[in-house]
């Protein structure tokens, strides 16, 4: 077992609990934006993809890494964009223009 497995497991468990506590407070009103925002945050795998593509170890790893960069970066850009578009639509009666 690699030495960093246990620290990673700590991080995973604690982050899972934080996620649970924070997300259960999200109003059902916003469940769709919640899903698109977590999708955009999850697209942070792009950082791993960048490293794989840029380390240029083998042609295969560079190619797979580059596809992974494109796929996850599209999620990042698209996820934030659509979440913001959705949230802009949520207005109260008072804040609405007549």
């Amino acid at each position: 077992m690699p030495s960093d497995f246990i620290p990673n497991l700590y991080v995973f468990i604690l982050a899972g609990f934080v996620g649970f506590e924070v997300i259960k407070r999200v109003s059902p009103l916003l469940h769709t934006p919640l899903m698109s925002l977590t999708n955009a945050l999850d697209a942070i795998v792009v950082v791993a993809a960048i490293i794989i593509a840029g380390r240029h170890e083998t042609a295969l790893s560079t190619a797979l890494g580059a596809i992974a960069v494109a796929a996850s970066f599209s999620n990042m850009v698209g996820g934030f964009l659509i979440t913001d578009r959705m949230l802009r639509m949520f207005k109260t009666a008072k804040s609405q223009k007549p």
Partner: protein
């Protein structure tokens, strides 16, 4: 800057990104602060990507830059889709997320192969199996939501046996690889079998179960990223994956509760199968129907109206007409609210987004439990394109396939109006006794045009 100092600076950037991730989700708890949450997420993502690009391990930027440009080129149109297309867009983004994580896992395996440690193989194998099945499962889900594939459950005899055998095959190959990580030829086989399992997993699931499926796929995509974090020992991925995974998991639990079903039942019990039970052969029962004129005069005379939208409203694109109806009734002094069932539509929160798009104020969108305590004092419950979520058989008929599912108790309102194309049973093929109640008026027609007629009648009567 020395290499170590650079690495530390990158790690600090990741830590700030992680803090911003948690804040982003925290701010999403209320519509008032939610947009700040998106901004926090964007800053976090920019910081993390920027820091990664400074990593001294990177020797070649050409393909990274090209891929980032292509990614933006795909992402921007996918971020601009129409609100009615949000469920399939979401399924597609789960597929992209899973694709990315899976490809990185595969690349990492071949970089290490044939000298992969047994423990490394446990992590990579699990990551690639879950990532692959999420990838194809999400593509199938997106195809169903886009109606490129039939939304009805596709089932055959012995299906669960076949699907589980395929999954078992993937797990056996994985086990062999753990014992013999040097059998590199088995790795593509494991990946392909997992991809096939993803197809088999989602194909039998019907459209009405999509809210649960899309949440589960969200959860899998998140946990795939977290597993990748373990593989690469990247804590920022572990945290982001754990947050996304737990979010998808919570949503799946909420969706399952809202349908009174278990995960296994959703994944392996194709909903359409059970429809042959009660009531199908019942004697001709009478329904009362009404014209738009009659319905409009009842609505105008009401004090409180509850509108219950469902997937049918989304299909008919009726949300803007519904908003006009809301406006005109509100102007006449009628208290109009919307009762939103958690599984109405094709993904969690689907109805809220559609109605918000049509400029219905969100304080008028009421959750099921709050709506139910108000329905007995409501004059008219108007159901637009919803069926099972209003079916009183869920409370009363223990033989009904939806028995026990929490519903909106629209039958407790003084008058019930149902806009429906015809008396054909709904999506799941379950008969709805609501339509035969004395207090129920059936309004036959397309949701969009019928609501339009109601608006016209109400506009002309003052």
């Amino acid at each position: 800057m020395s290499a170590i100092a650079t690495q530390q600076a990158i790690d600090f950037a990741y830590i700030i990104a992680v803090i911003l991730f948690v804040l982003a989700l925290k701010w999403l708890s209320s519509p008032v602060s939610a947009r700040r949450g998106v901004l926090a997420g964007e800053i976090a993502a920019a910081l993390a990507v920027g820091a990664t690009l400074c990593n001294p391990e990177l020797v070649q930027y050409k393909w990274i830059i090209i891929a980032l440009i292509i990614g933006a080129g795909i992402g921007i149109p996918l971020g601009m889709v129409h609100m009615t297309a949000v469920p399939q867009r979401t399924a597609l983004s789960h597929a992209f997320g899973a694709l990315s994580a899976t490809l990185i896992g595969i690349a990492e395996y071949y970089v290490r192969a044939p000298r992969v440690s047994k423990f490394g193989m446990v992590e990579i194998g699990l990551e690639v199996i879950i990532g692959s099945l999420t990838l194809t499962g999400s593509i199938i889900a997106a195809g169903k939501l886009q109606e490129l594939l039939p939304q009805r459950p596709i089932t055959y005899k012995g299906q669960n046996f076949v699907s589980l055998s395929v999954l078992a095959t993937a797990i056996v190959i994985w086990a062999v690889l753990i014992i013999h990580p040097e059998y590199t030829g088995l790795f593509p086989a494991m990946t392909v079998v997992s991809l096939i399992f993803g197809i088999l997993l989602v194909t039998p699931i019907g459209g009405a179960d999509m809210p649960t499926v899309i949440s589960l796929l969200n959860s899998y995509a998140g946990f795939t990223a977290a597993l990748l974090g373990f593989v690469l020992s990247s804590k920022v991925l572990v945290v982001a994956g754990a947050l996304d995974g737990s979010s998808g998991f919570i949503l799946s639990v909420i969706m399952c509760k809202a349908m009174n079903r278990s995960f296994t039942n959703v994944m392996f019990g194709a909903f359409g199968q059970v429809q042959t039970s009660s009531a199908a052969t019942g004697e001709e029962r009478t329904v009362r129907s009404a014209s738009a004129e009659e319905a409009a005069s009842i609505l105008a005379a009401a004090n409180r109206v509850a509108i219950v939208p469902g997937y049918g409203m989304a299909v008919a694109q009726a949300q803007h007409k519904v908003r006009e109806l809301y406006d005109i009734l509100t102007k006449k002094g009628v208290d109009v609210r919307f009762g939103i069932h958690p599984v109405a539509g094709r993904m969690p929160g689907h109805m809220n987004v559609l109605l918000a798009e049509a400029d219905v104020p969100y304080d008028r969108l009421v959750e099921m439990d709050d709506m139910n305590s108000d329905l007995p004092q409501t004059d008219v419950a108007l159901i637009i394109g919803a069926n099972d979520v209003t079916n009183p058989a869920a409370r009363t008929d223990s033989g009904s396939p939806i028995y026990g599912m929490p519903i909106l108790d629209v039958d407790k309102a003084r008058t019930v109006m149902v806009i429906k194309r015809s008396m054909n049973p709904g999506f799941a093929g379950i008969d709805n006794p609501l339509y035969y109640l004395d207090r129920t008026l059936m309004l036959f027609g397309d949701a969009k045009s019928f609501v339009g007629e109601l608006v016209r009648e109400l506009g002309g009567s003052h």
